[in-house]
């Protein structure tokens, strides 16, 4: 039985040129959705149905997509949760963070709280779905993976470690069946008061030396940072030396 999967997509922003594009993580979300549900994947966007970037997602081989028509200043979460409550859905896939707007990464959490579903953050892959239980691989720092099982339905945010989005084809993208649903979103009142400016480069932290005398400052500026206080083994046998290294590796928990 194929699960009902919904991928949420947003308008991305190219980091260098600033042009609108298929968002990196959302593209991976659609790719994962296609892997799980194939043609039956439903793709959902909140915003302007005329947006040309949506065709880039559609060019990944989607026959149809749904757009909840809404103003740009409106909050997407109420419209999404209303829509998702009506349908019978097993898995909702989102990106970790949007590339435009506030980029707080709160959408999956707010949806999960409203729908009462569990949320699985930073998914690298959904390995299998059996008897209403999904086995999910989480992306951890340093390239590590954690296996987690979770009952359907759930919401997952897709990490950059997931399989990259396939190439988008222009023609099929133009022929997609676009279903737009009218919603009346409320204007996000809190956000109106915020001031937005182009991002300033963050100041690099300087190494401050809190020395009291000139001699200390001189020492801090010239001395090598490491004093060489490590343990040196010279005359032991090779086996003892290897044992010492091995013990350190176990103590640091790098050997499993």
């Amino acid at each position: 039985m194929q699960p009902n999967v919904v991928s949420l997509i947003s308008i991305g922003r190219h980091p260098q040129s600033g042009r609108a594009r298929r968002a990196e993580q959302d593209g991976r979300g659609v790719e994962l959705g296609l892997k799980l549900a194939g043609e039956k994947l439903s793709v959902l966007h909140v915003g302007n149905p005329e947006e040309p970037v949506l065709r880039q997602y559609a060019g990944m081989g989607l026959p149809a997509m749904t757009v909840l028509k809404q103003d740009e200043t409106a909050d997407a979460v109420p419209a999404l949760s209303d829509y998702l409550q009506q349908e019978k859905i097993d898995i909702v896939l989102t990106g970790v963070r949007s590339e435009s707007g506030e980029s707080s990464g709160m959408v999956p959490y707010l949806l999960a709280e409203k729908l009462g579903w569990p949320v699985v953050a930073r998914v690298a892959d959904i390995v299998s779905i059996k008897d209403g239980v999904a086995e999910v691989l989480l992306a951890l720092p340093r390239g590590q993976r954690r296996s987690v099982t979770v009952k359907l339905p759930f919401i997952a945010s897709v990490d950059n470690a997931a399989a990259p989005a396939r190439q988008s084809a222009f023609g099929p993208g133009q022929r997609v069946r676009m279903e737009s649903v009218n919603t009346h979103g409320e204007v996000d009142q809190i956000r109106v008061d915020w001031q937005e400016a182009p991002a300033k480069p963050r100041p690099k932290r300087l190494k401050t030396v809190k020395a009291k005398t000139a001699a200390d400052r001189f020492k801090a500026a010239t001395a090598k940072p490491q004093g060489g206080s490590g343990k040196v083994m010279k005359n032991e046998s090779a086996a003892e030396k290897a044992k010492a290294i091995f013990d350190l590796l176990i103590e640091e928990n790098v050997i499993r």
Partner: protein, 415 residues
């Protein structure tokens, strides 16, 4: 009074004549700074310093910071300055920090956030305390120096490892008990951002994610995929980027334990099935945790590759090994190659050119195997082993294989 300088020729004469019986009293009577007739500052060189034990004059220009001799080492250790204790009795409000505690210790990111919490406390009226909430096993011994006024340590087994739901339940209990003014989380991939978002959704607060400039009133956070700076009022829940504040380094704090009772953790929806075995050679070198690196001192390359597989280490190489064609270019560690961040870096036959040392600057523990005891890598390493690399690697491989065998037998016994 008039500006005419009145001179006393007799006093001047006594002051010049060091053999005069009244010389000492006249010379010492002049105190404070002395200006000459042209307004220049005059110093009396005879009054500087003191007479040493063998009758010679000594001038201490180090202001008491002279290097203490070998014989006095013990007394110098005793004199290590004790930082002043910052005490908070009956705090009016709390700011709660939930550090990542990667590997059971406070990371640099965590310490920066604790420092930021203290600057926030100082801008808010009333006396506030910084509370740290730590989950699971903790190896940290210096909470006091990191700026923790109060400590909530939840070490029960249900919070160990991957347990975002249990931790969220605990945080909602703490919210009810302490009603903190702010919640600070590291915006990191180690779980801080996840936990912060969960708490914000549960409490219905609007958090500031990727915040990097925070004061009591105003917060600047990154938005629009890092292309925007959003200035806004400081919300209750903040997820902070790295280097958002300065870590505490001039005070000690109490780190008093606070008990949180009555947390009932229900069955989690996310069941942890443990870490997966990842092919170490597939992990990018820059983010690998454990690197086995080879240099000019390696002659048996087959053995080196075998050891890397058995230990489960990612392979690295010095520039020489790459230039000689023994390793591919993307394995090169150093200024011209990859800057690595490994926790443990095992350098075999690398003497440590400065370019290489730059590349491993962020590594925690460096282990060196080398034939030369005087090389730079040995000076940098936490553990250095002097000897032939081939013998030591062979022994190391035996140990690793024995351990693997042992754990497999255990598993088959259990089955």
């Amino acid at each position: 009074m008039s500006d005419i300088i009145r001179r006393d020729p007799r006093r001047e004469w006594i002051a010049r004549n060091r053999l005069h019986p009244l010389h000492d009293s006249v010379a010492n009577a002049v105190q404070g700074e002395v200006r000459g007739p042209s307004g220049l500052l005059r110093k009396n060189p005879h009054q500087v310093g003191f007479i040493g034990p063998n009758g010679l004059k000594r001038i201490d220009r180090l202001k008491g910071n002279a290097v203490v001799g070998v014989g006095n080492k013990r007394s110098a250790a005793n004199q290590e300055a004790v930082l002043p204790l910052h005490k908070v009795d009956n705090p009016d409000f709390y700011i709660v920090v939930v550090p990542d505690m990667v590997g059971g210790r406070l990371s640099g990111h965590d310490k920066d956030i604790l420092g930021l919490a203290h600057t926030m406390v100082s801008t808010i009226e009333g006396n506030g305390a910084v509370v740290a909430v730590c989950f699971g096993e903790s190896k940290e011994t210096h909470y006091d120096l990191a700026g923790v006024d109060r400590l909530i340590h939840l070490s029960a087994s249900e919070y160990e490892g991957f347990a975002p739901e249990a931790r969220l339940t605990a945080l909602t209990h703490i919210e009810a008990q302490l009603a903190p003014k702010h919640w600070l989380f590291p915006d990191s991939i180690h779980g801080g951002s996840d936990l912060g978002s969960r708490l914000a959704a549960r409490l219905g607060e609007r958090p500031a994610a990727q915040a990097w400039q925070v004061s009591g009133e105003q917060t600047v956070c990154r938005g629009g995929g890092g292309s925007l700076d959003i200035s806004r009022q400081t919300p209750r829940i903040l997820m902070l980027l790295e280097e958002c504040g300065e870590a505490i380094d001039e005070t000690r704090h109490e780190a008093l334990a606070i008990e949180v009772d009555g947390i009932s953790v229900s069955e989690p929806a996310l069941q942890d099935k443990g870490l997966m075995d990842v092919d170490p050679s597939a992990i990018p070198l820059a983010e690998a945790e454990f690197i086995l690196s080879a240099g000019n001192g390696i002659h048996n390359w087959d053995q080196f590759h075998k050891v890397a597989t058995v230990l489960g280490a990612t392979e690295g190489a010095s520039r020489v090994a790459v230039d000689d064609g023994f390793m591919p270019r993307f394995r090169q560690v150093g200024a011209t190659g990859t800057w690595v961040t490994a926790r443990v870096y095992l350098a075999v036959g690398i003497s440590g050119a400065i370019q290489h040392m730059q590349g491993i600057g962020q590594c925690d523990k460096v282990v060196a195997i080398n034939t030369d005891a005087g090389c730079d890598m040995v000076k940098r390493a936490a553990l250095s082993v002097i000897g032939d690399s081939e013998d030591i690697l062979a022994e190391l491989m035996l140990l690793a294989q024995a351990r693997k065998k042992g754990s497999q037998e255990e598993q088959s016994d259990a089955a």
